[in-house]
Amino acid sequence: MAAPMELSCWGGDWGLPSLHPESLTVMAYAKFSGAPLTVNTINNSWRTPKGDVPVLISEDTVISQPAKILNFLRKQKYNADYELSAKQGADTLAYIALLEEKLLPALLHTFWVEAENYCSVTKPWFASRIPFPLSLYLPGKMSREALNRILLTKGGPPLYSLTEVEAQIYRDAKECLNLLSKRLGTSQFFFGNTPTTLDAFVFGFLAPVYKVCFPRVQLQEHLKQLPNLCRFCDDILTCYFRLTVSDPALIISLQMDDNLRKSPQHPPRKLTTLKLAAGGEESSPLNRLSP
């Protein structure tokens, strides 16, 4: 049998197996192709993430980018695209390029550059999973890299200020979501009834936008107006990841939340979403501020 394979990646929250688009793409592909991966989520230990995440380790080989990891899995005969025609394979490459050019900048912006989102959600979440003292440095570095990437690829003239760049990237992202919705139509997956590489990439990019609860959510609101894309994400989560509220890991973390309510790194997000009282989301910032 094939050698055991280990995937090191960022963990999940809000019902997702991972918050990081690239990690999520690899996990989804592994589920679709039936590859037996042991997933090690990066947590608060001294085995810190060095360089790129996600990383696949198989015997002595270490592979780091999603495209390369997927290629490796295909060579090990875990191929989710086996039944695709040549033209469909070409379409896959084209749509992945569309995602990277049009959707990724806005995704990076929502997570890492938008000040309210970054300070109240992204930074505490990632910092809580990186050991001190790297937790003081690494989230900031990831944020600077995201801003750098956005400005260098999208920020040339005639867009001179960050606000103009932001407006443009969100316009592009919304257009990209509309195009994906039209392409998906009413089918279950992008190429018929079985999921392929393209489905893994689209899921990896869309699910974080769909599920993570940010204060500033213009992209999420746009996505929620496209019901076929929301249904696509939900279907993959329930069929392939089986993450529902009755998930035992989630229940344990809910119990932990009571004890850690005073810690600024573990705001009681999950508790408020389960509360039957109205205004669950709006009261969570207040909860976070209270000691």
């Binding site: 070409a90 390029a97 569309l98």
Partner: protein
């Protein structure tokens, strides 16, 4: 260069007359700092995307006959070309040391006197290398870049198949864009022929370029009142 071919092709596909003029300060004349740009009456519009929209607003469009799914596909393939071919061309021009020394620096700095030619060339190179680093291409070797180009050409070749254009009988913006890039790759002299060999592996792509050149550029060469430098720089696939 690939973009100017693409835009010329696009305008000729729309049956709009166009005159090509070469200017050293073109980058500064353009509203976005990028060449090429078109000058129509009082208006100046640069880059393929805005030019396509400008032309559409005047009532000419190549992609009206496509349905929604086809338009999505067209946009996706245009991004693929931008993502892979354009980045690979930039990589080859500015990050491959041999090409940079022998071809790019002299060509980029040629309109300016020393030391301005060296300074501007180094500045542009630094800018491009920063961008490559941000998108993760800085760590790629030349072989990996050529492999990416091959993958992109394979995808385009499979999509084109045996049809005359990407969306069967009528050319669209995608055809103009692909033509621009492939024509430049096939006709530009570099230190090695590896890049053009990659494209030549796909017979239907070279046939596609030749067909568009014959149909849209042959007759217009005689009308073109470009400068002598432009005329001598004109190349052809049909030599």
């Amino acid at each position: 260069m690939p973009k100017s071919q693409a835009i010329q092709a696009f305008l000729q596909m729309c049956n709009l007359p166009v005159r090509v003029v070469c200017r050293a300060n073109a980058e500064y004349m353009s509203p976005s700092g990028k060449v090429p740009f078109i000058h129509v009456g009082n208006q100046v519009v640069s880059e393929l995307g805005p030019i396509v929209q400008f032309v559409k607003a005047k009532g000419h469009s190549l992609s009206d006959g496509l349905d929604e799914v086809q338009k999505a596909e067209m946009k996706a393939y245009m991004e693929l070309v931008n993502n892979m071919l354009l980045t690979a061309e930039l990589y080859l021009q500015w990050c491959d040391d041999v090409t940079v020394e022998e071809i790019t620096h002299p060509r980029y700095g040629s309109p300016y006197p020393w030391p301005l030619n060296r300074i501007l060339a180094y500045q542009k190179q630094w800018e491009i290398r920063r961008k490559m680093k941000a998108i993760g291409w800085a760590g790629k070797s030349l072989e990996q870049v050529l492999e990416d180009v091959d993958q992109c050409c394979q995808a385009l070749s499979q999509r084109l198949g045996t049809q005359p254009y990407f969306f069967n009988k009528q050319p669209t913006e995608l055809d103009a864009l692909v033509f621009g890039h492939l024509f430049t790759i096939l006709t530009t002299q570099l230190t090695t022929d590896e890049l053009s060999e990659k494209v030549k592996n796909y017979g239907n792509l070279t046939a596609f370029c030749r067909r568009i050149e014959q149909q849209y550029f042959e007759g217009h060469d005689k009308d073109n009142s470009g400068t002598a430098a432009a005329r001598s720089a004109k190349r052809s696939l049909l030599r």
